[in-house]
Symmetry: C2
Subunit: 218 residues, 2 copies
DNA sequence: ATATTTTTTTAGATAAATCTAAAAAAATAA
DNA sequence: TTATTTTTTTAGATTTATCTAAAAAAATAT
């Protein structure tokens, strides 16, 4: 149906749309996809011809309903495969992104639905990101960055913002995992680092760490 | 490492090499891949530059050791994914080929080995074809076409030669599956059709059917 | 309001994989 | 052995996705 490249652009635009309510700019897409603005322009024309985006020269793009649905479908596949890799093949959560980037382009509706069933219809991927349903709707979860909590607040770890291997490995090393309860014991005014309680241990984490960890507060 | 197209050519040459002990001809590859001879020539030059085939103008090609190993790796992936689709996702054996054609190009050694482990190191795919081991060796099984058996002979069904959906569906419909015991009761001289015993039933099958079904004789 | 900077687009080039049509080589037939 | 047919290769074109460099438009600053 669509080329891998077209699918990657749709995915990028989909992600960028969540941040800007205006159209997404050519440069933003180029940045996200690590490519040149001129390549983006070329692709926007093609996606526009295929009615996947609304594109007006010099004014950026938005996804059409069709484009949104297609993008959600790709993200659905990506996240289902991530669950498969972690749950069934025993990969760790910092290894699955690159492989899922390939698997998300496998074209077979039946495969996706059978995979979903096999995995017992998971709602979230290994990083806590929601898995769009078949019709393209996202089951959003209310979550808050750990960095935004007040001293004394607590919550359960439900997701990560940064999914880089180095960040995830850091979490592993410190025993921070989805499902764990975290309580903010103290905030250091100087650098906004936090002292937190995790299980029966106490540890100190930087602001950068805290601003990449999502909690569900109780 | 290699493009999907390069991998498909290697696979095709690998399969064709099993039949001709001479080099594989350009036209044979074009036929196998449903493409034009001129496209094949172009690709052979490229594969030759990459030391995957021994190519001499007008004399066809053979795979180098490297080419053989690479091809075996792709076939390994294809067949492991077929096992996964049938055993874990509950696909039927006539549905898996097209999907495995896509999955075989996913590049991750770790994924292949984890998949192999998850499937408990299967030796054969759902059609009875052997799965090459990691180092590229094929565990060949001694098998005979049902059409070559004599009246009175019997054996266990271990594989199919034709893997088309229509053939596999025919087998399903008639209760013929891998692992089933078959005994040749009678052969019709006129058209070489066979009367066979399958479980407690007797059925008649054409020569074409019998010449696409592999048995292991006892 | 004009000049400067930034963003975006266009024009033209490149690489990969394919094609058609023509040329060259090899195989086969007379 | 020469002619014919078949196979294979070459030459040149096309499509997709990319790039660089230049031009055009929009945004920002003076």
């Amino acid at each position: 149906m669509f080329s891998d490249s077209e699918e990657n652009y749709l995915k990028a635009i989909f992600h960028l749309e969540r941040f800007s309510k205006e159209g997404v700019s050519t440069n933003a897409i180029a940045e996200e996809m690590q490519t040149k603005a001129s390549s983006v322009t070329d692709m926007l024309k093609k996606l526009s011809d295929k009615k996947l985006v609304n594109y007006v020269k010099y004014q950026g793009v938005t996804l059409t309903n069709n484009g949104k649905k297609t993008a959600a479908g790709i993200i659905r596949k990506h996240r289902l495969w991530e669950v498969f890799l972690v749950e069934k093949l025993d990969f760790s959560w910092d290894e699955v992104h690159e492989i899922a980037e390939q698997l998300e382009h496998i074209a077979s509706d039946k495969l996706v639905e059978k995979l979903d069933k096999h995995l017992k219809h998971p709602k979230f991927d290994p990083h806590g990101d929601p898995i769009p349903s078949k019709d393209g709707t996202f089951p959003e979860r209310d979550k808050v960055l750990l960095s935004e909590l007040q001293v004394g607040d607590s919550g359960v770890c439900v997701g990560v913002k940064d999914t880089s291997s180095s960040f995830l490995k850091f979490l592993d090393k410190n025993g921070i995992a989805l499902g764990k309860e975290i309580k903010v014991l103290e905030r250091e005014d100087f650098d906004d680092s936090l002292q937190i309680k995790l299980g029966d241990q106490t540890l100190t984490i930087s602001h950068l760490i805290a601003s990449n960890l999502y909690l569900k507060t109780n």
